[in-house]
């Protein structure tokens, strides 16, 4: 393939999230999937993957050979995923309360019914981890294990994001109301601006090097596709996320209310695995690590790996690092 043809082909979508799965339950845009087993079931405790409202969840199942979902299935786990979906104008008033207090518990109930289990593992990634932790604090019964991957907890350790969301500078409610649906591209640009050279220049320099070297671009294309595949963020949920988390830090300092219930992370007593990346600039380790000291869990493990926010989960480093460590930790806690 000539360089021009390769670059042209780079614009085509790459098949992602291809591991076969079935729909268990839907509610509005939220869908609960159950992945089809690839190996004999070795564990009775199902795993529920909770992703964020930013970007799409197929990063957990990016490509054959680069899929955390597939890895768990091959280890004999019963794997479910809650996909928050692609919001429309009618969802602009959707709040985190509705998702955490209505959608997530109902998804859990359906998962337990379909799996026949009475305990489950919650796996949350980034904002999904925050939502999972809040759910585990509000409804600790049945949560056997909580895995928090780069999960923001103490938002006053957010680094540059903390500067940008200064309440004296940014009125989140005005922005959320004005947009209605905050564009996914806008949030994507915001995350890319944390490392502007790497995200706007280096990534394409790398592509050029690969093209000139005649290397296959599929992996690069899949990752680039995901990075630029943002979804609209409901304005009400956006305002709540920025105001209550980044600006007031209510989850860590106390006072966060979800559906009129005060969230107390100290009610979490499930076995906890908190994972951070030393090169994570989106959720720096000081932002995620404090969860270890707040929960009531007797079984607590902190795993810190030399990787970035996304590199923790996908790529060769993840295959040899995070994936086996997570599945080993889960194996003794899933029967």
């Amino acid at each position: 393939m000539t360089p021009i043809a390769a670059i042209d082909a780079a614009a085509d979508r790459v098949p992602t999230g291809t591991t076969p799965r079935d729909v268990v339950w839907t509610r509005n845009k939220t869908t609960l999937y159950r992945y089809r087993a690839t190996a004999p079931r070795a564990h009775t405790t199902p795993v529920l993957l909770v992703y964020a409202l930013i970007n799409r969840p197929y990063i957990l199942d990016l490509r054959p050979g680069n899929s955390f979902v597939r890895h768990l299935l091959d280890q004999g786990h019963d794997v479910y995923l809650i996909d928050w979906g692609h919001y429309g104008w009618e969802d602009r008033a959707t709040t985190l309360d509705e998702l955490i207090d209505a959608h997530l518990p109902r998804a859990v109930a359906r998962m337990l019914r379909s799996s026949g289990a009475d305990h489950y593992t919650l796996f949350g990634y980034c904002m999904g981890g925050t939502m999972a932790a809040i759910h585990a604090a509000l409804r600790p019964d049945g949560v056997r294990n909580l895995i928090a991957l780069t999960t923001p907890i103490d938002f006053h350790q957010a680094g540059i994001h903390r500067v940008w969301t200064d309440p004296a500078l940014l009125d989140a409610e005005v922005v959320g109301e004005a947009f209605g649906l905050v564009p996914g591209t806008l949030i994507g640009i915001g995350n890319k601006m944390l490392r502007p050279t790497a995200n706007f220049v280096q990534v394409y320099a790398t592509m050029a090097e690969m093209v000139l070297a005649g290397q296959d671009l599929t992996s690069w294309r899949a990752m680039n596709q995901w990075v630029n595949d943002g979804v609209p963020f409901p304005g009400a949920a956006f305002a709540q996320w920025v105001r209550d988390m980044y600006q007031r830090n209510l989850l860590w300092e106390g006072g966060l209310q979800i559906a009129a219930a005060v969230v107390d992370l100290g009610r979490i007593d499930a076995a906890l695995l908190a994972i951070t990346g030393t090169r994570d600039h989106i959720v720096p380790p000081p932002m995620a690590t404090p969860l270890m000291g707040r929960v009531a869990s007797a079984d607590r493990t902190h795993l810190e790996l030399p990787a970035g926010h996304v590199g923790l989960l996908v790529g060769r480093g993840a295959r040899n690092g995070l994936w086996p460590q997570v599945s080993d930790w889960l194996a003794s806690r899933s029967d």
Partner: protein
């Protein structure tokens, strides 16, 4: 004048070299810029203005569509919201139905348990009838050995029950030591009590008197207490 290409620069290599040399400095400078408060203030203002501009465009579009009697985004969203509401209600009904099914299953399980209990009762009755049948059967002829042993046991029990309680013989040494202790106690019990020891002696006498009603072990404990009180007084 061409020199055969020996000095033609490889532009790509030059660009790569320039980029590699400068990228770290550019990265550092840009990251410092975006993390500054000035950048945050400007970008927040820009974001707010952009959002308000989008809202203005949206409002103008809505008014234009309404004037032309064309469905607006709000109209479509309203219909979509109604559909989502219906779906939510169906989900609630489905969940309630699932709860009913679960309760029915629990009732069935309990009924199954009751059935099990009745089976157990039936078996118990069968066992009882068998035992009753055995009780009416004439006893088989007793085995001679067993009968003799039972008889010997019965005789021994009877002998023990009727014979007067005889104190077991004590070893000679133990008997002598007990006799010595008893004689010393008798000697202690008779001498006049001193003033300083009146109260303790009196208390000790009471204890000794109480102890004498107990068995030998308890009495010796009382006697030891008395000996200690006396020794304390003397010191």
């Amino acid at each position: 004048m061409s020199d055969g290409g020996a000095h033609n620069p490889d532009l790509l290599a030059l660009m790569r070299e320039a980029y590699t040399r400068g990228v770290d400095a550019w990265s550092s400078a840009l990251e410092d810029l975006v993390s500054s408060e000035e950048f945050a203030a400007n970008s927040a203002q820009l974001l707010t203005l952009y959002a308000q501009q989008q809202e203005g465009i949206r409002t103008a579009s809505r008014l234009a569509a309404e004037s032309l009697h064309i469905p607006t985004a709000e109209d479509l969203a309203r219909v979509a919201g109604l559909v989502a509401n219906v779906e939510r209600k169906v989900d609630e009904v489905s969940e309630s139905g699932g709860a009913v099914v679960a309760r029915l299953q629990a009732i069935e399980d309990r009924l199954g348990g009751l059935a099990t209990a009745s089976v157990v009762q039936t078996r118990l009755k069968a066992i009882e009838s068998k035992v009753a049948a055995l009780a009416t059967v004439a006893p088989a002829a007793p085995t001679p050995d067993l009968d003799a042993r039972l008889g010997a046991i019965e005789e021994r029990i009877a002998a023990v029950a009727t014979a007067p309680a005889a104190a077991p013989a004590l070893p000679a040494e133990l008997d002598a030591r007990l006799a010595a202790i008893e004689s010393r106690l008798a000697a202690l019990a008779s001498p006049p009590a001193a003033t300083a020891t009146k109260r303790t002696g009196g208390a000790a006498a009471k204890r000794t008197s109480a102890a004498s009603k107990r068995t030998g072990t308890a009495a010796s404990a009382g006697r030891a207490t008395t000996a200690r009180a006396t020794a304390a007084d003397e010191s």
